[in-house]
């Protein structure tokens, strides 16, 4: 543009219609004016710069780009607004231009405008010669490509991000254009199926050939609407079958036909294997739990039946022992010597105790079977009833301390058995105290249960045996020292557990014992 074209070259004004017939001519003076106009007012930043870098002239676009007026610029060098790091950029090209080796020097460099704005400019420098061919100055145009380069950079980063992301999913990213039927696939294909994208024809058919025949119905892009999601098997290049998860988003035109389908195919073989492994392990575990539960239920049932029949079958011969010993005493008691009468008394006494034991065993085996008939009841009055019955004849002294207790929702007959056992127990082990003190107290807990404690001032026991207390036939004191049988606490345990409660005991030898149990509170939701 700056290099003077031959005067005879016709120039068409941008909007001028192209005439037919003889070429249009424009007088040279008008042509010069047009050139000046475009030079001065045109949108391209343009400056004439001498060999030392001084600005000789700058047009309006140049002024606007860098922020200085043409007058100001004429006192400056272009290096004044060149980014310091780019001072040498273009030097080599301009030297080549001056030597006439090239017609235009092209390069890109950074500037700093008057307001501090960073500008990336694409520069085209021409050499201006006079009519004798002597070098006059350079004419340079600067195109502001800052936005373009930033956009390019952003685009580049996006592509890079896409590449990283596509690599990270361990699968293929693909794009299908229904119009052409071609499919583009990312490099992940190599990872997924062992083929590079070049090796597999860019068609849906090529893909379908690798799909397991049984799964082909699940792979049909033509049927996709808004979304596509499928799971199927494919043959890897090395021959093994892998399970893939295929998912795509569909873009459609106004009429609803897909214009572009973009999807991801990932390998989920291991995940599927792991999931089925977990499922199998779960099923196995459940089966084993069910088996064990059934075994326990069966064992429990057998144990109860055994206890029950043993209690019954032992009663008949025991009654014979007791009955005939009694008949013997009635018939010959008077003629027996003292020692013989004592023997007979021991037989009778022992059979009575054995009968008592059998009755308790029988009751215990029954507790597990009877359905609960829960009612709202006041445990304090039940405890008092039992206490009245248990109070021994003088000279033994017992002080019952039965305070107010929160109402419970429980089976009356069973709660009675609990108190019978615990209060009898408390009396039994505090037989040596005068008075024996049995304290019954309780409170409503936050968990919907009422906790009731029975404390005595008896001999107590060692805590390390506490968890043995509630088994059948466990007694912590040598037989004979204290009367009674361990069946009682086992019954307490069973009754309380059947109500959903818990039992506990704490003690110290010689300092009394406290048995506690919980029953559902009457006001708790059920």
């Amino acid at each position: 543009m700056v290099r003077s074209p031959p005067a005879t070259t016709p120039v068409h004004a941008a909007d001028a219609p192209v005439g037919r017939g003889a070429p249009a001519e424009l007088p040279a003076s008008n042509l010069a004016r047009a050139r000046d106009l475009v030079f001065e007012q045109g949108p391209v930043a343009l400056a004439l710069i001498d060999w030392d870098g001084r600005i000789l002239h700058a047009n309006r676009a140049y002024e606007q780009l860098f922020g200085w007026s043409s007058t100001e610029l004429r006192t400056m060098s272009f290096l004044d607004y060149t980014h310091p790091d780019d001072a040498d950029v273009g030097k080599r090209e301009v030297q080549a231009l001056r030597r006439g080796e090239i017609e235009v020097a092209r390069f890109e460099k950074r500037y700093i405008a008057r307001d501090g704005r960073r500008i990336r400019g694409r520069v085209d420098v021409f050499a201006v010669h006079d009519s004798e061919g002597r070098f006059v100055c350079t004419a340079g145009t600067v195109h502001d490509v800052t936005d373009l380069r930033e956009a390019e950079e952003a685009q580049r980063r996006k592509e890079q991000l896409f590449q990283i992301a596509a690599g990270a999913i361990y699968g293929v990213v693909w794009e299908w254009e229904p119009a052409t039927g071609t499919i583009w696939r990312s490099d992940g294909l190599r990872q997924l199926l062992g083929y590079s994208p070049d090796e597999l024809p860019p068609t849906a058919d090529a893909w379908r050939e690798l799909v397991h025949p049984d799964d082909l119905p699940h792979v049909d892009l033509r049927s996709v609407a808004l979304r596509y999601e499928s799971e199927y098997r494919m043959r890897h290049r090395d021959g093994r079958w892998i399970t893939v998860w295929d998912r795509a988003t569909v873009e459609s035109d106004a009429s609803g036909s897909p214009t572009r389908v973009v999807g991801v195919t990932v390998d989920i073989t291991e995940r599927r294997l792991a999931a089925s492994e977990v499922r199998r392990a779960n099923a196995e575990l459940e089966e084993r739990v069910a088996e064990r539960t059934a075994e326990l239920v069966q064992a429990n049932r057998e144990l109860e039946a055994f206890t029950y029949s043993v209690s019954h079958d032992l009663r008949a011969p025991l009654r014979h022992v007791a009955g005939f010993a009694e008949l013997l005493r009635q018939r010959s008691g008077d003629s027996l010597d003292g020692e013989s009468r004592r023997y007979l008394d021991v037989v009778l006494d022992s059979s009575a105790r054995m009968g008592d034991l059998l009755d308790r065993l029988l009751n215990l085996s029954r507790l597990g079977r009877m359905p609960l008939q829960s009612v709202v009841l006041d445990p304090a009055s039940t405890a008092r009833e039992v206490a009245r019955e248990l109070t021994p004849a003088p000279p033994r002294a017992v002080e019952w301390r039965i305070g107010r207790l929160p109402a419970v929702h429980a089976d009356y007959a069973l709660v009675r058995i609990v108190f019978e056992n615990l209060l009898a127990n408390a009396l039994k082990y505090s037989a040596a105290r005068t008075p024996a003190i049995v304290d019954v107290r309780g409170h409503r807990r936050d968990d919907g249960f009422v906790e009731i404690e029975v404390e005595d001032n008896g001999v107590g026991f060692e805590m390390r045996y506490a968890d043995r207390l509630f088994g059948v036939f466990e007694r912590l004191h040598p037989s004979g020292e204290y009367e009674g049988w361990g069946v009682g606490l086992a019954s307490v345990h069973r009754i309380v557990v059947r109500h959903g409660g818990t039992v506990a005991a704490r003690s110290e030898p010689g300092r009394g014992a406290t048995f506690s149990f919980t029953l559902p509170a009457a006001d708790a939701p059920r």
Partner: protein, 137 residues
């Protein structure tokens, strides 16, 4: 001719039978049948005022005897009281369902057995038919 007995005891265990007889005392006449299979025939033949029936017997059980007795209209007025070791509620229920008039669980101690049987006898035979004298409670 043997006098009509107060009680027909159906019991296959001789020891049990003897204890029951002793417990009832000499004032009450007892005839014992050791086999459930002949119990009904003896009941119809002897017309006892009360039948004491054991449940667990070899061969025909007390339940069988109860069921059979219910078939005979002429036995409708003969009270049958079950006398057994079993306190299983299911046995109690079943016995009453089959028409038993009473159900007595035999206690171990002889004194208690005596007491219990005497009150059963008093209820079904009336106070005059026995005496509290004799074997002490």
């Amino acid at each position: 001719v043997i006098a009509k007995p107060d009680v027909l005891l159906v019991e296959d265990d001789a020891c049990e039978a003897e204890l029951v007889v002793r417990a009832l005392g000499p004032a009450i006449s007892v005839e014992t049948v050791g086999d459930g299979a002949v119990a009904i025939a003896r009941m119809r033949e002897r017309r006892p005022r009360l039948v004491l029936l054991d449940l667990k017997m070899g061969g025909r059980t007390g339940f069988d005897v109860l069921a059979e007795a219910a078939q005979h209209r002429d036995l409708a007025s003969t009270p049958i009281v079950v006398l057994t070791s079993s306190s299983d509620p299911r046995d109690v229920e079943r016995a009453y369902a089959l028409g038993a008039h009473g159900y007595v669980v035999k206690p171990i101690a002889h004194a208690q057995l005596t007491e219990r049987l005497r009150s059963v006898a008093t209820h079904w035979l009336g106070g005059a038919s026995h005496s509290r004298a004799g074997i002490g409670a």
